[in-house]
Symmetry: C2
Subunit: 372 residues, 2 copies
Amino acid sequence: MSRPYNFSAGPATMPEEVLAQAAAEMLDWHGSGMSVMEMSHRGKAFMSICAQAEADLRELLAVPEHFRILFMQGGGLAENAIVPMNLSRGGTVDFVVTGAWSQKSHQEAQKYCHAQLAASSADSGFTTLPDPASWRLSRGASYLHLCSNETIHGVEFHELPDLRALGSDAPLVIDFSSHVLSRPIDWQRVGLAFGGAQKNIGPAGLTLVIVREDLLGHALAICPSAFDYRTVADNGSMFNTPPTYAIYVAGLTFQWIQRQREGDARGVAAMEQRAIARSQLLYDAIDRSEVFYNPVDRAHRSRMNVPFFLREPGPDGAAYARFLAGAEARGLLQLKGHKSVGGLRASLYNAMPLAGVQALVDWMREFERTQA
Amino acid sequence: MSRPYNFSAGPATMPEEVLAQAAAEMLDWHGSGMSVMEMSHRGKAFMSICAQAEADLRELLAVPEHFRILFMQGGGLAENAIVPMNLSRGGTVDFVVTGAWSQKSHQEAQKYCHAQLAASSADSGFTTLPDPASWRLSRGASYLHLCSNETIHGVEFHELPDLRALGSDAPLVIDFSSHVLSRPIDWQRVGLAFGGAQKNIGPAGLTLVIVREDLLGHALAICPSAFDYRTVADNGSMFNTPPTYAIYVAGLTFQWIQRQREGDARGVAAMEQRAIARSQLLYDAIDRSEVFYNPVDRAHRSRMNVPFFLREPGPDGAAYARFLAGAEARGLLQLKGHKSVGGLRASLYNAMPLAGVQALVDWMREFERTQA
């Protein structure tokens, strides 16, 4: 059968080439006679896989030399505790709350530091982003946290704030779980970026942390050794056994991204062009529709996660059920919205072809004509 | 090519059937059109995979109903912090130190509680186990921790201590990373068991925690939510995105164990018979040899991890290099000892066929005749 289009918010669709390569190499990686899953993490074979994955990620995101790349475990939710344990020094941390994920980060950090609310778009129902000029920045804050793409509410910082221009020396910490590798990162504005791999990269169980060297070494005494960035960095992400197979699959995905081209653009630049094309196609269809709508401020709409709703869902949301059943029949999967906001959501990660979005838009038009 | 025998201590050899099934299902799990890696962890398909894995593990280990099975991340090293954060209540905890792993557990716990040394076999170079009758048990200890199989030093508690008979009410916590599913567990003697999956089960990045219901809900305030057993249990291991593919592969391994038979024995009982046969074959060969030796007290030798040494390693350990090169040429892989103790080590996990141990013993005899 031809593969359906999978719009899951994460774990999420992956490039077919990556899955096919993983399947082909499952029993015997490069003539080693072993599966990658069976390799000692300290053996030559896996060490080379891990080093290549790190080098490829560094190349793709143009990560400067004074940043360390860490492969960790626990996902974004664990990092909500691990970041303040490592960076807060028990002091004040500023939070910009723009949706469900930054809200969780703000709440969890209160266990470890004075977590101050610098700005929030809660009043808007998280449909816009607060203007950086209005943020209340704390003097001497250990860092400022924001979520650069809110997977549930569908708002994205298309440009990261320049905290220095706003009068703050605090390092910027970004949760880039759901947009990593869909656009370049301006590392001059960032102190630390973290994200789970299960959205835009592939395998759940791998967490990326990219951190400026000078921010290492300040963990609280109660920070578990396995989550102390200094310890993880000093041991090349091998202090504890890393999620080896997930690192391998992420590495295959990095190589897939390196091979992609859109005109003159390659790698992450090509991914960004595709992300713009995919999201424009869907937002245009929504905005032209009299049946569907997206509530997010157009300037801050996410290219990765598009929540959308029916103006007339009908009794008990019967129209949603009809839309989802018809979608599934057409091979358009996992379009149900997050339970906290309801409605529909299409996640358009790197591995989603434009044809998948076109198929979704076609079904939306048909639904509008015949069933709405 | 025929698959070599992989004696790695972890990540480690896996059943070929499991790898073949994972490869066959990589692009399309059961007609879903999706890889397991691409499935939302909250979707029906993955929820069924996860529930089946949990049920199969419960059946295999005869886990009573009042114990919860948690799928977590971070491995044994992270659990060294997570267990005391959840169970110590900041009080006194007793540690029995019998090798490198329990030593690390004891050290890490000091961040969270009064970690008391109840017994240690350090004086013997960790070649025996201290007699439970000699343990100095603290009054009112929150729990007692031991590592029931020391992967590096090759000592194993073949019987778990009965703390109540020793006059203690403390729950027993065991690190069963490197023997899980190779023998039954007497749950009447256990409060909590934890272990990384990358030794006897398969994929790195998955941590098992099996915990008695009444021990939940006492986490320290500084425990990250993602590692609070109560939170993990209440959310069916889905508070944060679990390592979905690793859970799937572990589930395939559980089903493989269920299919195994040795005479009338099936499942874990069959695994135990094989473990006894494998380890006896190797220990007998070592004990009969004038070239190799194993320093561990015969009563406490591990069935899973067999460290062994050359009586005359030669200058710069040249004889070890010859042994390892000859082993590799015969498809006997990853036999180098852990860097902290040197020498050789053969890990004989569930997926290691007896023929693999026989091939190793054959090479040892040939080496002894011709090259020692």
